[in-house]
Symmetry: C2
Subunit: 220 residues, 2 copies
DNA sequence: AGTTTACATATTACATGTAACATGTCAAGG
DNA sequence: CCTTGACATGTTACATGTAATATGTAAACT
C-alpha cells in the first residue's frame, strides 16, 4: 500500500517522446528537420537509448519518417498526402460522430461545448495558435464520442498528422470562423441526438476544408 | 550506378520484426506469451537492440502490449476488443471499397479474383489455415482499392489485429464458405463498378461476422 | 500451517562502445 | 572550370555494460 507518488510513467523515453511530439506539433521542429539521435540526446540531457525509442514512436505514428542510414526527419506532407489524410479522417470522424449521437455521455457533450467556448474566445482575440490547439482538442473529442478506443486512437493519430500537414496552408481568420460555426452545427445535432444530422454537418466541414485547401493551392 | 544486390532492407531489426510478426499471426507465439528481449535475442542470434526495436514496432502496431517494468506480451483481445476492432474495420473497408469502385485499376480486381480462387481451393481442401491466409490477403487488398496509402495502412493494421483477436473463435467450415461467397459478392459489385452495391455487400459480410462472433460467445 | 524475510534470478531501462556508412570539404589533377 | 578522390565529421545500426526493479523460491519466524 505505497502512496505511489509517481503517477506519471516517469520513463525517459516517454518524456522524450512527449517533448518531441509537442515541439513538432508546435512547429518548433518544422517538417524536414532532422531528428538526430545523438544531437537530441545532448539537448535533452539523456542517453541515446530513450531518444531512439522516442523517435521510433514518432515514426510509427507518422509524425516522422526515416530512411535507411540517414535517420529520421520530421514528416513533411505533400498536398496529395494532406488530401489522403483528410479523406480517411472524414470517414473515421463521421463514423465516430454518428455512433456518438447515441453513445455519447452528457459529459462528452459538455466537454465539446467547453472547447467550443474556448474556440470562440480564441477567435475574438484573433489568437491563431490558440485556435489551432482547440481545433486539435475538438476533433480528438469527436473520436471519444464513439466510446470505441480503437477508433479514438486512429482519429487522434490522423488529426496530429493533419495538423502537421495543414500547417503550411495557414488559413485565414475568416475560414477559422467558418470552421467554428461548422463545429457548432455538429454539436447542435449531437445534442439533439441526431446521428444523421451530425454526420452530415461534419461532412460539410470536411468538404469545406478540402475545398479551401485546394483553393490555397492555386494561390501558392 | 551500383547493381544494388540488396533489395531487402537487410536491417536486423526489420528481420526480427518480420519473424516475430509472422510467428504471432501464425499462432506460434500465442496471445499472452512473453516477448522477453534477452530471450528472443538469444533465439534469433542477434543482440538485444534490434530485438527491442522489433518489439516496440509490434507494440506500436497493436500486436503486443507492454506494461512498465514487466516487458511486452503478445496482445490478447477480449470479445469487446474484437467487436471494437470490427466496428472500425467495417467503416474503413467499406469506405475503401466504395472509393475503389471508381478508382481501382483492372489489376487490382484481377488480384482480388486470384485470391478468391485460392480461397475456393482452400475450402475444397478444407485447408483451414490456408483459408485464413487468403482471408488476410483479401481484406488487405480491399484496402489497396482506394489507392489511398493512409487508408491502406490502417486497413492492414486492423486486419492483423482482427486476425489475432478472432483466432480463438475458430470458425466452422460452413461459415468460412459463407465468408467466401460474401467476398464474391463484393468482387462482383466492384467489377460492375457499383460502389453502393460493393459497400452494402461488404457491410453484410461484417454484420454476419459480428453475429457469428456473438453466437460463438454463448457456446463458449 | 501461514506469513515474512532474504536471497537468487531474470528483465527492463538506460548508458555507452564501435564498425559501417553517408555526406561535406577541399585540394589535386584533368 | 569541372571532376575526382582523400580526409574529416557525423550518424546509424548493432552490440554490450549495468543499476534498479520485479519475480520466484526457500529458509526463518510467529
Amino acid at each position: 500500500m505505497k502512496p505511489r507518488a509517481k503517477l506519471q510513467s516517469e520513463r525517459l523515453a516517454d518524456k522524450a517522446y512527449a517533448v518531441l511530439r509537442s515541439q513538432i506539433l508546435k512547429g518548433v521542429l518544422p517538417p524536414g528537420h532532422a531528428l538526430s539521435v545523438p544531437e537530441l540526446s545532448r539537448q535533452l540531457g539523456v542517453s541515446r537509448s530513450p531518444v531512439r525509442e522516442a523517435v521510433l514512436q514518432l515514426v510509427a505514428e507518422g509524425l516522422a519518417r526515416e530512411q535507411a542510414h540517414k535517420g529520421a526527419v520530421v514528416a513533411h506532407f505533400s498536398l496529395e498526402d494532406a488530401l489522403q489524410i483528410l479523406e480517411v479522417r472524414e470517414v473515421l470522424e463521421v463514423a465516430s460522430v454518428r455512433l456518438g449521437a447515441s453513445r455519447a455521455a452528457p459529459e462528452d457533450l459538455a466537454r465539446l461545448k467547453q472547447v467550443l467556448q474556448a474556440q470562440a474566445k480564441a477567435l475574438q482575440e484573433s489568437d491563431f495558435v490558440g485556435y489551432q490547439a482547440t481545433d486539435l482538442q475538438f476533433h480528438r473529442l469527436l473520436g471519444t464520442l464513439s466510446h470505441n478506443p480503437v477508433l479514438e486512437r486512429m482519429v487522434g493519430l490522423l488529426k496530429d498528422q493533419s495538423h502537421l500537414a495543414l500547417e503550411p496552408a495557414a488559413r485565414s481568420l475568416a475560414q477559422l470562423e467558418r470552421g467554428y460555426h461548422e463545429h457548432r452545427s455538429v454539436l447542435a445535432a449531437l445534442e439533439a441526438r441526431n446521428a444523421e444530422g451530425a454526420g452530415l454537418a461534419l461532412l460539410k466541414h470536411f468538404k469545406r476544408i478540402r475545398e479551401s485547401l485546394e483553393g490555397w493551392l492555386v494561390t501558392k
